[in-house]
C-alpha cells in the first residue's frame, strides 16, 4: 500500500497570471474538453481575462457554447426528446436574473461592466453545466438500475444531482468573484451583500423555470 508520488501541474502563486489569448479561446471551440481548463483549471487566468477585460466577447461566446454543450448529455439521459431542457434551464435562468445582478451591483458599488458581470455569472453556469456532464453517467446508471418506486425514483435522483451541479456552480461564482485579488478589488466590499440575495432570486427563478420546462416532473 505505497503511495508513489504523482507529479501534478500546480499553479505557481508567484507567476503573474496571463489572460487567455483569442487564439486559445477560439481553440477551445474546436476542442471542447479544453474548456475545463478555462472554467476550472486556470481560474487565475480566467480572472485576469475578466479583470483586464481582455477578449471578453470571445470569452463570452466560449462560455455560452460550453454551458449549452455540456448540459446536453444530462438532458438526453433525462429524456431524449427533451435533451435541450437543461441547457435551456441554465441559460434561461441566467438571462432572466443577470440584469438584477448587474444593476444592483452597480448601485451598491461593484465596479464591473455588463460584459464582466456576464462573464463571471456565465462561468458559474458553465461549471454547473460541466458538473451535469460529469453526473450524466451516474444518472444513466440510476435510470438503468432503478425500477419504478413510490419513494425514490430516478426523477428524484435527477433533481438531487442537478442540485449538486448547481451547488458546484454557485461555489465557482464565489471562487471567481472573491478568490482573485484583482477581481475582488474591482468588485469591492459589496460582493456578499449583492451576491447572497441575488442567489436567492436565482434559485427561485431556476426552480420555477425547471417547473415550466417539466424538469423533474
Amino acid at each position: 500500500m505505497t503511495n508513489q508520488p504523482i507529479e501534478l501541474e500546480a499553479n505557481s502563486r508567484d507567476e503573474e497570471a496571463q489572460p487567455f489569448s483569442r487564439q486559445e479561446l477560439r481553440g477551445m471551440l474546436g476542442a471542447p474538453l479544453r474548456m475545463v481548463d478555462l472554467v476550472l483549471g486556470e481560474r487565475r487566468r480566467f480572472a485576469a481575462n475578466v479583470a483586464q477585460e481582455h477578449r471578453l466577447p470571445t470569452l463570452l461566446v466560449v462560455l455560452t457554447v460550453a454551458t449549452a454543450a455540456f448540459a446536453l448529455p444530462f438532458g438526453a439521459v433525462l429524456g431524449p426528446q427533451g435533451f435541450w431542457r437543461i441547457a435551456a434551464l441554465l441559460l434561461g435562468s441566467l438571462a432572466i436574473c443577470i440584469p438584477s445582478l448587474h444593476v444592483f451591483g452597480r448601485y451598491l458599488g461593484i465596479g464591473l461592466s455588463w460584459a464582466q458581470t456576464l462573464a463571471v455569472s456565465l462561468a458559474a453556469a458553465a461549471v454547473t453545466s460541466l458538473f451535469t456532464f460529469a453526473l450524466a453517467p451516474i444518472l444513466g446508471f440510476f435510470r438503468v438500475t432503478m425500477s419504478a418506486s413510490d419513494v425514490v425514483t430516478p426523477q428524484n435522483m435527477a433533481v438531487m444531482l442537478l442540485i449538486c451541479a448547481f451547488a458546484a456552480g454557485i461555489g465557482q461564482l464565489f471562487f471567481v468573484a472573491l478568490g482573485n485579488r484583482a477581481l475582488a478589488r474591482r468588485i469591492g466590499p459589496a460582493a456578499i451583500p449583492v451576491i447572497i440575495p441575488w442567489l436567492v432570486l436565482y434559485v427561485i427563478i431556476t426552480v420555477r423555470l425547471a417547473g415550466v420546462l417539466h424538469i423533474g416532473s
Binding site: 501534478l8 475545463v36 486556470e42
Partner: protein, 221 residues
C-alpha cells in the same frame, strides 16, 4: 495504476468471498466476481465527477489520469484493509447462529459488524489519502479533506445503488442459493424496496415484516 487495479480486484474478491460465506460457499464464490465489480462500476460512473470536483475545490491543473489514480488508491487501500479482515469475517460468517423461519438470529449482528469494518476501512483509507495529497500538492488541510470527502460522498451515492443492483452479497441463509438470481437488480427485497435509497428509507421508517418475508428477495417475485 494497473498494479493498483489488480490489488483492488484481488483484495476486494477476498473480502467479498468472506461475506458471501455467511450464506454459503456458493454465494462466497459469486462475490469473488461481484465485489470487485462493485468497486469498478462505482469508479467508472464517478470518474468524470471526481476529476471536476478536484478541479473545483483545488483550482489546480490536474490531469484526468492523476485524479483517477488518487481515487483508485482510496478504493485500493479500503479493499486491502477489508481483505485483512477477511479471515476474521469468514470465521464469524461460518459460526453465527443462522436465520430461521421465526427470527434473523445473529444475522443482523454480522451485518452490523461488517458495516463497522467497512466504515473503519473506508475512514482509514480516506485519512491516508488526505495525508498523501499533501505530498503531491501544497494545499491546506481543509481543501484536501473536502476533495477526498467529496470523492467519498460521490462513491457512497453511486456505490450504494451499485451494491443494491449487484446484491445479494450476504444473503439470509434461509433463502436457497440455487433459487436466488446472481444479480437481484431492482427486484423488491423482503421489505418491498426496489432501490438503495428506498431501502435506506425503509430502514429509517421500518414497517413490520410480512409473515412470509423469507419467501421474498430471491429475484423472482
Amino acid at each position: 495504476m494497473r498494479r493498483d487495479v489488480a490489488t483492488l480486484v484481488l483484495a476486494s474478491a477476498l473480502y467479498g468471498f468472506s461475506i458471501g460465506c455467511v450464506h454459503s460457499t456458493r454465494f462466497g464464490l459469486h462475490n469473488v466476481l461481484k465485489f470487485p465489480l462493485l468497486f469498478l462500476i462505482t469508479g467508472a460512473a464517478c470518474a468524470v465527477a471526481y476529476f471536476l470536483w478536484a478541479l473545483l475545490i483545488g483550482g489546480a491543473r490536474f490531469r484526468f489520469v492523476d485524479v483517477q489514480r488518487l481515487a483508485m488508491r482510496l478504493y485500493r487501500d479500503a479493499a486491502v484493509l477489508l481483505a485483512a479482515l477477511a479471515p476474521a469475517n469468514w470465521f464469524l460468517a461460518r459460526t453465527i447462529v443462522p436465520p430461521d423461519a421465526t427470527s434473523l438470529q445473529d444475522y443482523p449482528l454480522f451485518l452490523g459488524v461488517n458495516i463497522c469494518f467497512i466504515a473503519v476501512a473506508g475512514g482509514l483509507a480516506l485519512f491516508r489519502q488526505v495525508h498523501a495529497l499533501a505530498q503531491y500538492h501544497p494545499w491546506p488541510l481543509s481543501r484536501r479533506v473536502i476533495t477526498v470527502g467529496g470523492w467519498l460522498a460521490l462513491s457512497l451515492m453511486v456505490g450504494g445503488q451499485a451494491a443494491w443492483t449487484l446484491r445479494p452479497f450476504f444473503g439470509v441463509r434461509s433463502i436457497p442459493g440455487a433459487e436466488t438470481r446472481f444479480f437481484l437488480g431492482s427486484s423488491p427485497d423482503y421489505r418491498g424496496s426496489t432501490n438503495f435509497y428506498e431501502a435506506v428509507y425503509n430502514v429509517v421508517a421500518a414497517a413490520p415484516l410480512a409473515a412470509d418475508y423469507t419467501r421474498h428477495g430471491r429475484g423472482w417475485d
